[in-house]
């Protein structure tokens, strides 16, 4: 228990500038138009190179037990923030400090290869998420039971229907057991019976995480799991605090 409370994830003065490499409209003056843009972030020219300023001076401090929802319109920098938090994007300036095992669930179909069997794809995903061999074998059995795919696990997933692929993907990603769980919009698919089952399993997974960072458009889910919320707009923190206050303010603004 003492070790657990040592888990943290902090960002200090993070800026993230994503370079615009493929520039097909060299002559269009981006900069003058930024006020008209309502979605997305500002585009700026630094050292003669064009950048999307995805995050501007963000500082957060998530300690043990934090359950936080990330709110924001499309293109406000939600996913960028989650990617910086999980260590996929390295920040342009600022520092990120982390202690604890991180899992980032951004998509339920990562690394699925159409020619591979269900088992091979499960193994592949487990390899990507950093499980070792023993854990992988256990997970494969769990996935077989939980997804109810049975013998289909030995067939190439080319033969699966879309729903079956979703089942497989969800069964895999809900096997993770991280200290810090970062989720971006992956909780909506599957037929009715399965989505009931998945939400139960998802509850377990979310509850197990010691730090939860959660971005979703579903208010109910976020209400259920998060005590705090962070509202970002145009790459900046607009409001942070307990969930209800932030959510009300966010809702008011969008209406």
């Amino acid at each position: 228990m003492k070790e657990d409370s040592n888990i943290y994830l902090t960002l200090k003065n993070i800026c993230l500038n994503l370079p615009v490499v493929a520039d097909i409209s060299k002559n269009k003056p981006y900069i003058q138009n930024t006020e008209k843009i309502t979605v997305g972030n500002t585009i700026e020219i630094i050292d003669n190179k064009k950048f999307v300023r995805a995050l501007k001076n963000i500082s957060v401090d998530f300690q043990f037990g934090t359950r936080i929802a990330i709110l924001g319109a499309n293109g406000s920098g939600k996913t960028s923030l989650l990617r910086v938090l999980s260590g996929i994007y390295k920040p342009s300036t600022g520092k990120r400090k982390v202690k604890g095992k991180i899992s980032a669930l951004f998509s339920s179909s990562i690394g699925l290869n159409m020619h591979g069997t269900g088992i091979e794809n499960t193994r592949y995903a487990c390899a990507l998420y950093g499980f070792d061999y023993k854990e992988t074998d256990a997970i494969i059995n769990n996935v077989r039971d939980f997804s109810e795919l049975g013998d289909y696990m030995d067939l190439p997933i080319r033969t699966y229907s879309r729903g079956m692929k979703t089942r497989l993907g969800f069964s895999i990603i809900t096997s993770v057991r991280p200290d810090i769980l970062i989720i971006d919009e992956v909780l909506s698919a599957g037929d009715f019976a399965f989505s009931k089952k998945i939400s139960k399993k998802m509850h377990e997974v979310l509850q197990r995480a010691k730090i939860l960072v959660f971005a979703s458009h579903s208010a109910e889910l976020m209400k259920m799991f998060c005590e705090e919320a962070l509202w970002i707009s145009k790459g900046e923190i607009k409001l942070a605090g307990d969930f209800k206050t932030v959510w009300d303010a966010y809702k008011k603004q969008t209406e």
Partner: protein, 274 residues
């Protein structure tokens, strides 16, 4: 200007190198699963075929025997077992082609994974290497067959192919690191590599033998020739020249240093470009 450069150099030696090394160390701790990923990545495209991955062997055999028969310079070089010469040349050139070609799309091809799962970058380089090694192994029967047909006798020099292979792999790691990183930023690199591959095939003594005149000069200034020689010659029972060893070592070391430096410097921005 000068101050800024000095600051950058200092930054490189204090932070960047450490970052790059940390990435490689982390990747090596995932070596087992990475090798498995390369393995499954090689096999899966052949999953629905009847012959399966043996297609690799088959394609290699057809390529080797058609060139070995058509370009055989019968009388002039009777001391060189030409079929063996060609088979080893082609198989090794295929490895180098994989380093240059697949290496330059190592990160861009995996963009979907890189942007969704936090993993060190070097594992995608290892994946390319593993794929190349598997291809090489699948082509070995062709070389053995060619050696049997040519009645090549193996002597103690044969052991020299192992240091040769190690040098080739070091060269491969370096070039892959360099190309993968650069090609993520400059997407033209991939096509430059594709374009130059044919050119490289013709200027490398794969199916022609280094003799006097223009061919000697071309071969001498082609680093790939030296990398080929230090493996091909011992396999055919002769000692490669010391000169080839020195060039190979220098070129491998150079590739590794440049590759590692560029990778270390740009590593933090690789994901931004995807």
């Amino acid at each position: 200007m000068f101050n800024r450069l000095r600051k950058k150099i200092k930054n490189f030696f204090t932070i960047k190198i450490y970052d790059g090394w940390e990435d490689i160390r982390e990747s090596l701790s995932l070596l087992k699963v990475t090798i498995w990923m390369g393995w499954i990545g090689t096999l899966l495209p052949f999953r629905d075929t009847k012959i399966g991955p043996y297609w690799i062997t088959f394609i290699c055999a057809i390529w080797v025997f058609s060139i070995g028969i058509i370009f055989n310079p019968n009388k002039a070089f009777e001391d060189v077992p030409f079929l063996t010469y060609v088979s080893i040349g082609i198989v090794l050139f295929d490895i180098i082609r994989a380093f240059l070609g697949e290496g330059s799309s190592a990160f861009t091809k995996e963009a979907n994974i890189i942007l969704n799962v936090p993993n060190p970058f070097f594992i995608y380089i290892i994946k390319v290497m593993v794929k190349a090694i598997i291809h090489f192994t699948m082509c070995l029967p062709v070389i053995i067959l060619a050696m049997i047909i040519d009645r090549v006798t193996i002597n103690l020099y044969f052991l020299l192919i192992f240091p040769g292979m190690i040098l080739l792999l070091i060269f491969g790691t370096g070039t892959c690191l360099f190309l993968a990183t650069i090609a993520t930023r400059y997407r033209d690199i991939r096509f430059v590599m594709q374009a130059s591959m044919r050119f490289l095939f013709f200027v490398t003594p794969v199916f022609w033998i280094k003799s006097s005149g223009v061919r000697e000069i071309i071969a001498e200034f082609n680093p790939i020739y030296h990398l080929l020689t230090i493996i091909r010659e011992p396999a055919m029972g002769t000692m490669p020249s010391l000169h080839s060893y020195i060039v190979s070592m220098l070129i491998s070391l150079f590739a590794l240093i440049i590759g590692f430096s560029i990778f270390s410097i740009m590593r933090n921005r690789i994901a931004h470009w995807l």
